[in-house]
């Protein structure tokens, strides 16, 4: 093997150096040409450039925002609104896609004929239809078929489902911070518990059902803290308010159909791919592992949980990272159904209101790049952590 020093020395030899330098010059030339050409043409057409517009008032409202925003906010704030909406739908999508993907992937290997076939049909159906069609299906065919506001589907007279969205009660807490404290302390306790139980298991051979205890702790501790700290809450129910002939729900938490359709289609679509990754990962584990687990007296779920999945994860994670990245980038299809994501609010509305095409597209591209690189980084780190340490 060549050392780094040797490699550099080798690269410095003229027959290797000249083509590389040439390549760099050509590449730099192309970049220069592109920017220079854009600059000249923009000047010729009197198109002003720069990022000052980010501080000016946007003048348009957005349907759905996680931060306070109105038309008197700046374009910079509009960017944040879009970014957060993208992150929200990507986050929810990734969580549901992972859960559905694992369930379907494992079901495909099940001995239960019905389950097995159902999973196979799911995968073949959802991964072979274009995503945009699936988004349209959920949005136009399913969610638009819901009843009008006045005939909402109602559960427990507090959850209302209609064509304009899903309305659920909102919990407004007083002294909420005590619950947070309880939650943090529960997490620390669980960490210590798992650490000591491992130690106990390896040193004395005593097994503690850590998972069951952890669930208990994470539920009970915040409740105890809430009781001690005097946390109270009020429930704000969605109320049907009538304004002449127009009835609308006011209050509560509102999930708009555009968000539901996008999150649903992204998770259902991506889950089909993740399911195949999961299946591949499990099949990659040699039969001997399962047989060994069986001969040690592990039952089916134990061998899956303790032997198969931990090893399969090494195979599953790298391709699943790709699926997470795809999901995040695919969320930009939001514009097709009017969900105000980064592409819709910033590369769409803001771009056409300001005309700053180059600046805005640049910002948006950089943003997607950053999000994607961050997700890769996170999963690469996790992958390294669980990778087999080979000698």
């Amino acid at each position: 093997m060549l050392g780094i020093k040797n490699q550099i020395l080798k690269n410095l030899q003229p027959r290797y150096l000249i083509p590389q330098v040439l390549l760099i010059i050509i590449f730099a030339g192309i970049i220069y040409y592109f920017t220079n050409n854009a600059g000249i043409n923009m000047k010729a057409r009197n198109i002003s450039s720069g990022f000052d517009f980010l501080n000016t008032n946007s003048g348009f409202d957005v349907q759905f925002s996680l931060i306070p925003y109105s038309g008197s906010s700046s374009y910079g704030t509009a960017y944040l609104v879009g970014l957060l909406n993208t992150l929200l739908v990507a986050f929810i999508g990734i969580i549901f896609a992972t859960i559905i993907g694992f369930i379907i992937g494992i079901s495909r290997l099940s001995n239960n004929w019905l389950l097995n076939k159902f999973a196979a049909i799911y995968v073949e159906l959802f991964r072979n239809l274009p995503l945009i069609l699936q988004i349209f299906f959920w949005y136009f065919a399913v969610l638009r078929a819901l009843p009008e506001t006045k005939d909402s589907i109602t559960f427990f007279s507090s959850v209302f489902i209609n064509l304009q969205g899903i309305y659920i009660p909102k919990f407004i807490f007083k002294n909420f911070h005590f619950i947070t404290y309880g939650f943090v302390i529960a997490l620390i306790t669980i960490f210590l518990l798992s650490y000591f139980s491992k130690k106990l298991f390896y040193e004395k051979g005593i097994a503690i059902p850590v998972f069951k205890y952890s669930v208990l702790i994470i539920i009970l501790l915040p409740i105890v803290f809430a009781l001690i700290g005097g946390t109270t809450y009020v429930v704000e129910y969605p109320l049907l308010k009538k304004n002449y002939g127009i009835a609308n729900f006011v209050g509560g938490v509102k999930l708009v159909p555009e968000f539901i359709a996008l999150a649903l289609s992204l998770s259902v679509y991506t889950a089909a791919f993740i399911a195949e990754n999961v299946r591949a990962g499990i099949l990659a584990i040699s039969k001997g592992q399962k047989e060994a687990a069986k001969s040690l007296g592990f039952n089916n779920s134990q061998s899956l949980k303790l032997i198969i999945i931990p090893q399969a994860l090494r195979v599953i994670i790298p391709p699943t990272t790709n699926q997470y990245l795809n999901l995040t980038k695919n969320s930009s299809l939001a514009a097709a159904i009017g969900y105000p994501d980064l592409t819709g609010v910033f590369a769409g509305t803001s771009l056409s209101q300001t005309g700053k095409a180059i600046e805005i597209i640049f910002i948006v591209m950089m943003t997607y790049l950053t999000i994607s690189l961050f997700i890769s980084l996170l999963l690469n780190w996790y992958n390294k952590k669980i990778a087999l340490v080979e000698k």
Binding site: L23, I26, G29, Q63, Q164, G348, T349, L351
Partner: protein, 343 residues
């Protein structure tokens, strides 16, 4: 091996350079480019009946389409030589700036920010409009001031979107915008009940009402909340082309004023009225000032008709859109349509 790679790379770079440079600078060349190409590339809407709308067999018609046809008649002598580019409100200016189209006739509102800030030129007004609201009759509402807590379907990237906010804020009303990139999607969403209100220019409301399942179920509220002068747009660096588009529109308006229409244009050539003679290119050198032949104006009148004919055919009271002339009547008949003299 490396030599081959470098050679390939150099060729690749050269091709890219060629492609880019061929697409650059259109300054003062639009007319030549159009003549060379043999057709006018005209940006229109994705379907607003009466303004620019394609029928089942792909034939475009509308008051905006007539303007594209007028320019083609003036420059190429044939009103049919137009290629239509249906554009969303969001994309229209970028496509024009990039040089893919020669002119934009897409019910576009003339504002200072667009005229001054986008490096584009608005060259006239072919329809004076104003923004309004459409609601279901069942909503039992007779004024926009009563629209509190309403969900409003709107097309994104438009002045409509901005006026909407201004109006609701000024009247201290709450609303929730539901924005779509296509007018069709916004109308469908409103029609299916996703929104309580649909807002756009009043002409657009009338046009899009014809697209709802049951047009009689919807009413247009009386308020007009903004001024929306709609007109053709060209790139800001081509004065000759801007003049051609501007005067093509003015010829149509002036032709109506002097009762010159498609049918009588030829017979009026022998009239004694010098204004009509100039309008028909029999006298004067109107074409020369635009670098066109002197038949440019009579071609427009004969092939497209005057403004009144175009209006009656596309959006007038006898059409499904059914808009009275209102502001778009000639200045001499109580409207504000006023063309500078063609001389």
């Amino acid at each position: 091996m490396n030599k081959v790679r470098i050679a390939l790379f150099t060729i690749f770079a050269a091709v890219i350079t060629l492609v880019i440079s061929s697409a650059s600078s259109y300054a003062n060349q639009t007319r030549e480019a159009v003549v060379k190409r043999g057709n006018v590339n005209c940006g229109v809407s994705q379907g607003v009946p009466g303004f620019s709308n394609a029928d089942a067999s792909g034939n475009w018609s509308g008051i905006d389409v007539d303007l594209c046809r007028a320019v083609a008649a003036a420059v190429l002598g044939d009103a049919k030589k137009v290629k239509y580019f249906p554009l969303s409100a969001k994309d229209r200016f970028e496509v024009l700036k990039a040089g893919e189209i020669d002119m934009l006739a897409r019910n576009t509102t003339w504002t200072l920010a667009r005229d001054g800030g986008l490096a584009l030129d608005f060259v006239g007004v072919n329809f004076y409009d104003g923004q309004g609201f459409m609601v279901r009759k069942a909503a039992n509402i007779n004024s926009a001031k009563k629209l509190n807590n309403a969900k409003v379907c709107v097309e994104t990237g438009t002045t409509t979107e901005l006026n909407l906010r201004d109006y609701f804020n000024a009247n201290k009303l709450k609303y929730e915008p539901v924005s779509f990139t296509k007018a069709d999607e916004a109308v469908a969403a409103y029609d299916q009940g996703r929104c309580d209100v649909y807002t756009t220019d009043k002409s657009g409301l009338a046009a899009n009402r014809t697209k709802t399942k049951n047009p009689a179920d919807h009413i247009i509220l009386p308020e007009t909340i903004s001024k929306e002068p709609l007109g053709p747009v060209v790139r800001g660096n081509d004065e000759n082309w801007a003049n051609i588009v501007r005067w093509s529109l003015n010829v149509m308006i002036e032709a109506e004023e002097f009762n010159v229409n498609a049918a009588n244009a030829d017979s009026l050539k022998s009239t004694d009225n010098p204004v009509i003679k100039r309008l028909l290119g029999v006298e004067g050198e109107t074409g020369k000032n635009l670098s066109l032949s002197n038949e440019w104006s009579i071609n427009i009148i004969k092939q497209v008709g005057n403004y009144g004919e175009s209006y009656a055919r596309n959006v007038g009271p006898t059409t499904p859109v059914g808009l009275p002339r209102g502001l778009n009547q000639l200045w001499s008949k109580g409207g504000i349509l006023y063309a500078p003299p063609v001389r």
